[in-house]
């Protein structure tokens, strides 16, 4: 990138299994009102405030066609520019960065939100499969992720105990994250004793139902420097899709993740991610996925994800800390997940991650994913700018 885009401010609601008293526009209102307060910015189009808004949500999850209409007024979309990313919030951050780099807008607010408890999520996911050959089989993202996990076990001998270590690490890390939904002081045996949902995935191996929202304000280098004393820069971005036919893919080889990561590493000038990136916030919808994503990012050799977590390298004090925030396994909503990873990365780089702080973190990687078994991946590499 010639010019730079930075983060002005971030805000997360508390994540909870359900927020029954809130309409989607109430859910949107809190993180927008709060981020305006923190940043001191307003929705004005004269160059002194927020020029445009980008939301991240999905119609099927929200139960409304073009569901960004549900929060258009809250996000500053009244008689002003507003657009929406269908899906993961990390992509909304990517689009915001591109819009700013294009020179068309200087300052953009990003909102990601979901109320998962309003709908049967498995049914929503089943619509993610093409109707000709797959949908009638009743697969959803959980049973698909189970096919992936089993393939990973068969190929590399990953054990359920190794996968359970991811859950233990993340749920324990979440104890220090004030917005985390499900912090827990659990042991491997608790994971192995939880109900089997779709082998080899047990209940605790999977992301719980979650609700919440988060916001970010991004702007040009000049304005970020003016508006915050703790700038964080977006240094590298990359995204990639794998085949939409599950059976076309090598499920235990996240090649679209590797491709997205290599684009982002190249842009950020990173040649050895293990050494040059201090903290990783990944979208692990299952325990096994965190191991697979670590492999795909080049943090260990193929098939060594289990050994990596066993070695303690992915703990907060380890060589490659992954999900010090507690990650998705501690409860972060779909669509919010990737944007929330960016926010957790920003908090790390600002030294504001409280009990889950990775000391001296200067470079962080945030990851979002969409589609069954990580079909699409979005990588965002961020650097501390002060």
């Amino acid at each position: 990138m010639g010019k730079r885009v930075g983060i002005v401010a971030v805000y997360q609601t508390k994540y909870e299994e359900s927020k029954p008293y809130l309409h989607i526009h109430d859910l949107a209102y809190e993180p927008i009102k709060e981020i305006l307060k923190i940043s001191g910015l307003k929705f004005v189009g004269d160059g002194t405030g927020i020029d445009a808004a980008i939301g991240a949500s999905q119609d099927h999850w929200d139960g409304y066609a073009i569901s960004s209409k549900l929060y258009q007024d809250q996000i500053g979309g009244h008689l002003r520019p507003e657009s929406r990313v269908r899906g993961d919030g990390a992509v909304a951050v990517f689009y915001a960065a591109m819009s700013i780099l294009s020179g068309h807008y200087d300052t953009i607010i990003v909102l990601a939100l979901a109320k998962e408890s309003q709908v049967d999520g498995r049914l929503v996911e089943s619509f993610g499969f093409e109707p000709n050959y797959t949908r009638m089989l009743g697969l959803d993202f959980l049973s698909a992720a189970a096919l992936q996990a089993q393939n990973y076990i068969d190929k590399y001998g990953i054990s359920p105990e190794q996968a359970a270590l991811v859950v233990v690490k993340n749920r324990r890390n979440a104890r220090f994250n004030p917005v985390a939904q499900a912090p827990a002081d659990i042991e491997v045996q608790d994971v192995l004793n939880s109900p089997m949902l779709s082998s080899p995935l047990r209940e605790l191996d999977t992301k719980p139902t979650s609700e919440g929202a988060c916001t970010l304000i991004l702007s040009t280098e000049e304005k970020v420097k003016k508006w915050t004393s703790k700038p964080v820069w977006i240094e590298g971005v990359g995204s990639c899709y794998d085949s939409s036919f599950l059976g076309d893919r090598e499920l235990a080889e996240p090649r679209s993740l590797t491709s997205a990561a290599l684009q982002a590493y190249r842009m950020a000038g990173i040649s050895d991610p293990k050494k040059e990136i201090d903290v990783f916030e990944l979208s692990e919808y299952t325990s096994y996925q965190e191991l697979l994503w670590a492999e795909g990012l080049g943090l260990c050799e193929k098939g060594d994800g289990g050994k990596l977590v066993q070695s303690g390298a992915t703990e907060i004090g380890g060589e490659v800390p992954i999900n010090p925030s507690g990650g998705l396994l501690s409860g972060v909503p779909v669509n919010v997940a990737g944007a929330d990873r960016v926010i957790e990365a920003v908090l790390q780089l600002r030294g504001e991650a409280q009990g889950c702080q990775v000391e001296g973190a200067k470079v962080a990687l945030a990851h979002g994913t969409m589609g069954p078994c990580g079909q699409f991946h979005q990588i965002i590499v961020l650097r501390r700018g002060y």
Binding site: Y21, L147, Q150, S198, S199
Partner: protein
């Protein structure tokens, strides 16, 4: 006229129960039409081959994602194949076509290079394994869709 399916089901918090009714008539297109017709009428599997990439796709589709080539070369593949991965799904879902537990599997049919997603049957779920050789069992009354394959059973 369709009655709007919205009703209050809880007072505190006030909850409006809704449902989105959308009937679709999906046109499956010429490729899937031929695939399902062969499956229904002859109990045969046809994949489609990309000569450029040397890949026989199952299920068949009209273009090759790798080289952007139009695919036209139909290749018969065997009703037998190998399980690439599988899972035993225990939780209930309104989407499931049969009663749980369901053994879902990715099956690579002999002669195809990509896997078909389906179910396993005639097997104790715990005895299913990746690498298992299986064979398609067809429904007696076939309608021209993917469930014309009842399941894949172990090849004995």
């Amino acid at each position: 006229m369709l009655k709007l399916p919205l009703k209050i089901v809880n007072e505190d918090p006030l909850v409006l129960q809704g449902k989105i009714y959308l009937d679709y008539a999906y046109y499956v297109g010429p490729i899937a039409t031929r695939f399902f017709t062969d499956l229904r009428d002859r109990g045969k599997f046809f994949g489609i081959r990309c000569g450029e990439c040397g890949i026989t796709y199952m299920p068949p589709r009209g273009t090759c994602g790798r080289c952007f080539g139009k695919l036209e070369e139909w290749v018969e593949v065997a009703p037998q194949g190998t399980v690439i991965s599988h899972t035993i799904t225990y939780y209930p879902s309104v989407c499931h076509p049969v009663k749980e537990p369901i053994v879902y599997a990715i099956v690579k049919l002999d002669g195809a290079d990509t896997g078909l997603i389906h179910m396993l049957g005639d097997v104790e779920p715990s005895e299913a394994y990746s690498g298992m050789r299986v064979e398609a069992v067809f429904k007696e009354k076939r309608e021209g869709n993917i469930l014309d394959i009842k399941y894949f059973k172990p090849l004995r």
